[in-house]
């Protein structure tokens, strides 16, 4: 190693150190600390602070509220991501031929995505108002209590989430569609391919990769989602919209059980990492197969 290389190495370390320091102190260290916390009984207001071992996890294993939250989380993630992917793909296909007013079209589309989730929660709370909300007005003046009925609250929440995140899916699919050379379709047309054949043989295969990427991002976001349900329904009524993140938050900061709440956080953490890891495996297998 000559002097220049040594100098470069030193410069490299110097340049990465502020970011590494920030990530180390504020992400990695708390990420390890939460594992440790989840093994403690820690309730600051009662001065409780002792080692608990795996007892929180053992409790969770037979905690009906935990299993309910897990079920709500999975239903929420599966249904909203499924709807977002379908609607997003349709929107992208519709937008593809747009010539005039593309900028306006994208602004209208991205509006729902760019708003703070808390604003979305407030918007939908008002839309769902039993006597004066737009949804009931459009249904001819009915007085359905969307957010107060345990059977309706989760679908209502999912609808708000789909509204908010479908634009992201649509944008990524739209960008990919614009990248497909028109010559491909012209050649297929010459060969006598119909519209359906062109869609299933050209468009879909070329979209597959971006759809997989979007599927991953959206699944991770849906599993981590918190703001929307916390503000819109607070997990209610009767726990029908209480996700793992909401259960974790309430245990941590409303009943102030820092150890127990951390154990639920760790479960969310593990779930997210498991999804990311299986996706990476899937993607690698696809690339080897291709």
């Amino acid at each position: 190693m000559n002097a220049r290389q040594r100098g470069d190495r030193r410069t490299a370390l110097l340049y990465v150190s502020p970011a590494l320091l920030a990530l180390g102190c504020l992400t990695v260290y708390p990420g390890l600390w939460v594992l440790w916390l989840s093994l403690q009984h820690r309730i600051p207001i009662f001065d409780v602070d002792r080692f608990a071992g795996l007892s929180h996890y053992l409790f969770l294993a037979q905690d009906p509220r935990f299993w309910n939250a897990g079920r709500v989380t999975l239903v929420f993630a599966a249904v909203s991501v499924g709807l977002e992917l379908g609607l997003g793909l349709l929107t992208a296909l519709a937008l593809r031929g747009q010539r005039a007013g593309r900028r306006l079209a994208l602004a209208l589309l991205l509006l729902a995505w760019a708003l703070p989730a808390v604003v979305t929660a407030r918007i939908f709370e008002w839309l769902y108002h039993p006597s004066a909300g737009l949804v009931n007005l459009l249904l001819g003046g009915r007085t359905i209590n969307w957010l107060g009925d345990p059977a309706l609250a989760l679908p209502a929440l999912i609808l708000a989430d789909v509204w908010r995140t479908m634009p992201f899916v649509a944008l990524l699919c739209y960008a990919r569609l614009l990248g497909i050379p028109p010559e491909l379709y012209e050649a297929a047309q010459v060969d006598g391919a119909g519209r359906t054949a062109m869609f299933t043989r050209i468009t879909l295969p070329l979209l597959r990769r971006i759809l997989l990427i979007v599927l991953l991002f959206r699944t991770l976001d849906a599993l981590r989602a918190f703001d929307l349900m916390f503000v819109l329904t607070g997990g209610g009524p009767a726990g029908s919209t209480e996700t793992l993140t909401v259960y974790a938050y309430r245990s941590l900061f409303q009943t102030l059980q820092l150890g127990f709440g951390s154990a639920i956080s760790v479960v969310v953490f593990a779930l997210v990492m498991l999804v990311a890891w299986s996706y990476l495996r899937l993607l690698r297998r696809q690339r080897l197969g291709a």
């Binding site: 490299a12 370390l13 990420g31 010539r99 900028r103 729902a112 008002w126 820092l258 993607l283």
Partner: protein, 276 residues
């Protein structure tokens, strides 16, 4: 395909799609309209109001914690953006151009970092902020938001820097420019559009962020807009009109970004998605 479909039919289709997208945005426009309605019209479900009022905005601006929260949000989002771009830019340059020890492990860590759930670190960060005496301060939010935004910023900027032809830097180095000079006069101008994309995404994340802001603040002098909106005071009845006005004010920066800086934002979003 659609390329060949000529003239009137295309215009009609374009208009239909714009109309459908406008319909999609109705929840927002309904909130906008509600913010100008008088209370009687709001509660009687009047679709088209007889008259409009600025009363809700007056209440929000003069009597609610929202104006203070807007200032807090702006300061936190700007400081977060500056810090994340400064730290992230240096790290990205090193990862793209310099022999960083353990480079591939670091890149993997950066990607994993973008998947990190906030709820996983909120409890230790709360204890950390309390121990450092940072509860209820801007700094707590800036630090937490920055660390959370850094992985994506590093990833985006490293990609943008890698696109810059390295010959330009080598030429400048041959002319006797040092590392920092090359960074300042060659790399920085060329990566400006990429940096702007990353800055917009970071600003938007920080402006919209709720969980950290809700947990680390306890009083109005530090609360950000999403927190103020979530806790919007109502004594006996929910003040729907005031809440509508407050949510429109909270939406202004995101709306400006998608209208004025749309191209940069979309570029950043697309670049962020093509990470493997």
């Amino acid at each position: 395909m659609s390329r060949q479909r000529a003239g009137g039919g295309r215009h009609l289709a374009d208009a239909a799609i714009l109309l459908a997208l406008a319909a999609y945005a109705i929840p927002f426009f309904w909130q906008l309209l509600s913010s100008f309605k008088v209370d009687a019209d709001l509660l009687h479900g009047q679709l088209v109001p007889a008259r409009l009022t600025l009363a809700h905005y007056r209440v929000v601006v003069e009597q609610s914690p929202v104006p203070r929260a807007l200032v807090n949000s702006l300061v936190v989002a700007l400081l977060t953006t500056g810090l994340a771009l400064g730290f992230g830019g240096l790290a990205a340059y090193a990862l793209a151009r310099l022999p960083v020890p353990g480079r591939s492990a670091l890149l993997l860590g950066v990607i994993a970092g973008t998947a990190f759930p906030q709820i996983a670190t909120v409890s230790p960060l709360y204890l950390l902020m309390r121990a450092l005496g940072l509860r209820d301060t801007w700094l707590a939010l800036v630090l937490a938001d920055t660390s959370f935004a850094l992985p994506l910023v590093i990833w985006l900027l490293a990609g943008f820097i890698a696109e810059i032809p390295e010959e330009l830097e080598q030429a400048a180095a041959l002319d006797g420019a040092g590392r920092l000079q090359v960074l300042r006069w060659v790399v920085l101008p060329l990566m400006a559009p990429g940096a702007a994309s990353a800055a917009l995404l970071t600003f938007l994340f920080s402006w919209n962020e709720f969980l950290f802001a809700y947990t680390f603040t306890a009083s109005e002098p530090a609360r950000t807009v999403p927190v103020a909106l979530a806790l919007f005071p109502g004594v006996f009845e929910v003040p729907w009109g005031d809440i509508a006005a407050a949510s429109i004010l909270a939406s202004l920066p995101p709306v400006v970004i998608i209208v004025v800086f749309q191209r940069l934002l979309v570029r950043g979003l697309l670049a962020g998605a093509i990470r493997e």
